[in-house]
């Protein structure tokens, strides 16, 4: 089989892994070497599904000894299989990198022979890239459940990021859909990686030339919608992973039905809006100091699909609002729907030169579409005649869902509807 076919099969098999980031590592080029990593990451293209392409994301092999029900590579699936040799992976990485197609490599794999055997092969690839080719671009590899600490510790010295995917957000889910994996087989290596990261950071403080270990941190992925787990449970898990395991990122992947199994739900299409809401909430946890419990609770365990989590939170806590733009501190500003980190910083900086009015805010490029319902400028409120959460809610949903409205209009113009049927 030639490399083109292998690449087709093994990138297709890797596409459901949503992590694509090349950020978090500032690895520098060395003399005679090739490549460096950019701390903020760089996107090199965007695929037809709109996702950023930053890394060459492939499986080393899609031959698997396990049989996870949600996965295309499960052993019981009848599927075209392939394995890339270390030579081929190294050559693709270097030549794609030289042409500026990619920031580096994201090497994942199904489990061939045994977890340790698979990890040894991955180690072989990353060692050659770093030591033989002098490659200093970004490398992200998978850690595989059940793999030995020894191998993970060695791979960690060469890569920028490691991830071990939890995939199913509950133990029950694992039992049902991934019977070869256990909670322990996932969390133990994750804990090991965390400990090594902390240890090497300490060593680095003492000895300048100590090796770094996974400088870009570790991440994981959760599948949304393959199990019964609600958003509260998923978000709580993420919160625990950020706080307890120092994870850099948790990725969410709307379940794409790839298999039929009595244990899997039947879906018409992947729950992408739900996935999007989880990303927004995740963002609120990491950068806006929200707690999972503030965003959801047992009475409302799932996100509202029609309105984003921050707007929803604000409407349920309408008593705190409106806040005065010229007085509210930075953290309070951050809680206003529509005001992000950049906008909050801008406001705090600009108001030092004098009080800001509504027009000043517009000039500062602050998007007021949502914010106007939750703020005052010099005591003046620009939202509605009164602060009625139900009314604001309607305004927000209508305002934000313009796209849908416009889409239907354009369909209508194309003759997809006749005018009588358009009642929105």
């Amino acid at each position: 089989m030639d490399v083109l076919d292998k690449l087709r099969i093994l990138s297709d098999a890797a596409k459901y892994d949503v992590s694509c980031s090349s950020s978090g590592s500032g690895r520098k080029n060395k003399k005679g070497g090739i490549g460096s990593a950019s701390i903020n990451g760089i996107c090199h293209s965007w695929s037809d599904d709109g996702r950023c392409i930053s890394l060459l994301k492939i499986l080393m092999t899609n031959y698997c000894i396990y049989d996870c029900a949600y996965c295309v590579n499960r052993s019981s699936n009848d599927l075209e299989r392939a394995t890339l040799t270390p030579d081929e992976i190294v050559d693709l990485t270097i030549n794609f990198y030289r042409r500026n197609y990619i920031e580096g490599l994201f090497l994942s794999s199904a489990i061939i022979k045994s977890p340790n055997h698979t990890m040894e092969l991955i180690l072989n690839v990353v060692k050659r890239l770093r030591e033989v080719e002098g490659f200093n671009g970004y490398i992200h590899t998978k850690a595989i459940p059940h793999a030995d600490k020894r191998i993970i510790d060695e791979i960690g010295l060469y890569v920028d990021r490691m991830s071990i995917n939890i995939e199913l957000p509950s133990e029950n889910g694992l039992k049902l859909l991934a019977p070869n994996k256990t909670k322990k087989s996932i969390l133990t290596p994750m804990g090991n990686i965390r400990n090594r990261i902390v240890e090497t950071r300490e060593e680095k403080k003492k000895f300048k030339y100590a090796n770094s270990f996974v400088p870009g941190g570790q991440s994981t992925q959760l599948i949304v919608g393959a199990t019964e787990d609600n958003d509260l449970k998923i978000l709580k898990l993420s919160e625990g992973l950020y706080d307890g395991y120092n994870l850099k990122r948790v990725y969410y992947s709307a379940y794409v039905p790839v298999a039929k199994s009595p244990n899997l739900p039947v879906l018409d299409s992947p729950p992408v809006i739900r996935e999007n809401r989880l990303y927004q909430a995740d963002w609120l946890l990491r950068f806006y100091k929200f707690k999972a419990d503030e965003l959801l609770d047992e009475n409302m365990p799932n996100f509202d699909l029609s309105l984003d989590p921050k707007c929803n939170w604000a409407l349920r806590n309408i008593g705190i609002f409106p806040v005065e733009i010229n007085r509210a501190d930075y953290n309070t500003l951050l809680r206003v729907p529509g005001i992000g980190v950049k906008s909050a910083r801008r406001i705090v900086a600009a108001r030092k030169f004098g009080p800001l009015n509504y027009d000043n805010l517009k000039k500062l490029n602050i998007v007021l579409k949502r914010a106007k319902y939750f703020i005052t400028c010099n005591g003046k409120y620009y939202g509605m005649s009164s602060m009625n959460p139900e009314k604001i809610r309607k305004k927000l949903i209508y305002g934000l869902d313009r796209n849908i409205f416009e889409k239907q209009l354009s369909l209508w113009e194309m003759g997809g509807f006749n005018d009588k049927s358009l009642h929105i």
Binding site: N29, G32, I42, S45, W46, S47, G50, F96, A350
Partner: protein, 247 residues
């Protein structure tokens, strides 16, 4: 009478215009590069000499009395080549000499806001180009890329590629402005290019392009097809040189 300062279009020339605006009574109503000068009966044209020493003085004054960040922003604004940007730069500098480092926070001021937003646009495109540039390997192993960005940014992206491809020879060719960056593993220069380059590709070049196209196709999830999102992240104007998009 309306005063037009006419400079040679270089950054040094612009700094000289700023110098002149400080030290002569004839204040400018417009500052124009020689290429953009307007023929008008009411206009008095004042030609600006490009004097390296004076340019250096202004350069250092901005760096010290305002801030290195302000200098960077002014330079990026200049690279935007937007009509009339020179007067905004002059106004920014005037204000900067009055209030110093804090100028950047004063976004409610028009000149400051304008320089800031244009700076953001140029940096944004610069960042985009670090990802979207595609090199093709020539027969003699030189890596060659074509671009036609909105802003004149070959000079500010070159250092990025020199860091990562320090051991390669490469050319980045701005087809819109007919200028190129040349790097030869040691030094780099920006040069005007006249006429067509004689380009012969490496025999393996097409293979890698095909591999990349294949990768691009198979990495996308068909069930999540979203061309609108793709276009908003990667506007069509950049597709011309993207191999995966048929460029």
């Amino acid at each position: 009478m309306i005063n037009h300062y006419i400079y040679d279009g270089s950054f040094d020339g612009l700094l000289n215009a700023i110098y002149k605006a400080y030290y002569t009574p004839d204040k400018p109503d417009k500052i124009l590069s020689y290429e953009k000068r307007e023929d008008n009966f009411l206009v008095k044209e004042i030609l600006i000499d490009t004097d390296a020493k004076k340019a250096k003085k202004v350069y250092e004054a901005i760096d010290k009395k305002i801030s290195p960040a302000a200098l960077r922003k002014i330079y990026y604004a200049y690279l935007s080549e937007i009509d009339g940007i020179e007067m905004d730069i002059l106004n920014f500098v005037r204000l900067g000499f009055k209030i110093g480092t804090d100028i950047e926070l004063n976004l409610a001021n028009e000149a400051v806001f304008k320089i800031e937003s244009i700076y953001n646009k140029v940096s944004h495109e610069r960042h985009r180009m670090t990802g979207l540039i595609r090199f093709k390997e020539l027969k003699n192993n030189i890596l060659y890329a074509e671009i036609s960005p909105d802003y004149n940014l070959v000079g500010i992206i070159a250092p990025h590629f020199i860091k990562r491809l320090s051991n390669e020879n490469f050319i980045i060719h701005d087809k819109k402005r007919n200028i190129s960056v040349f790097y030869n593993k040691k030094e780099w220069i920006v040069r005007e290019i006249k006429g067509d380059l004689n380009i012969i590709f490496n025999e393996k070049e097409e293979d890698y392009q095909n591999l990349w196209k294949m990768y691009f196709k198979s990495i996308s999830i068909k069930e999540k097809f979203n061309p609108k999102l793709q276009r908003s992240n990667m506007p069509k104007k950049y597709w011309k040189y993207l191999i995966e998009k048929g460029g």
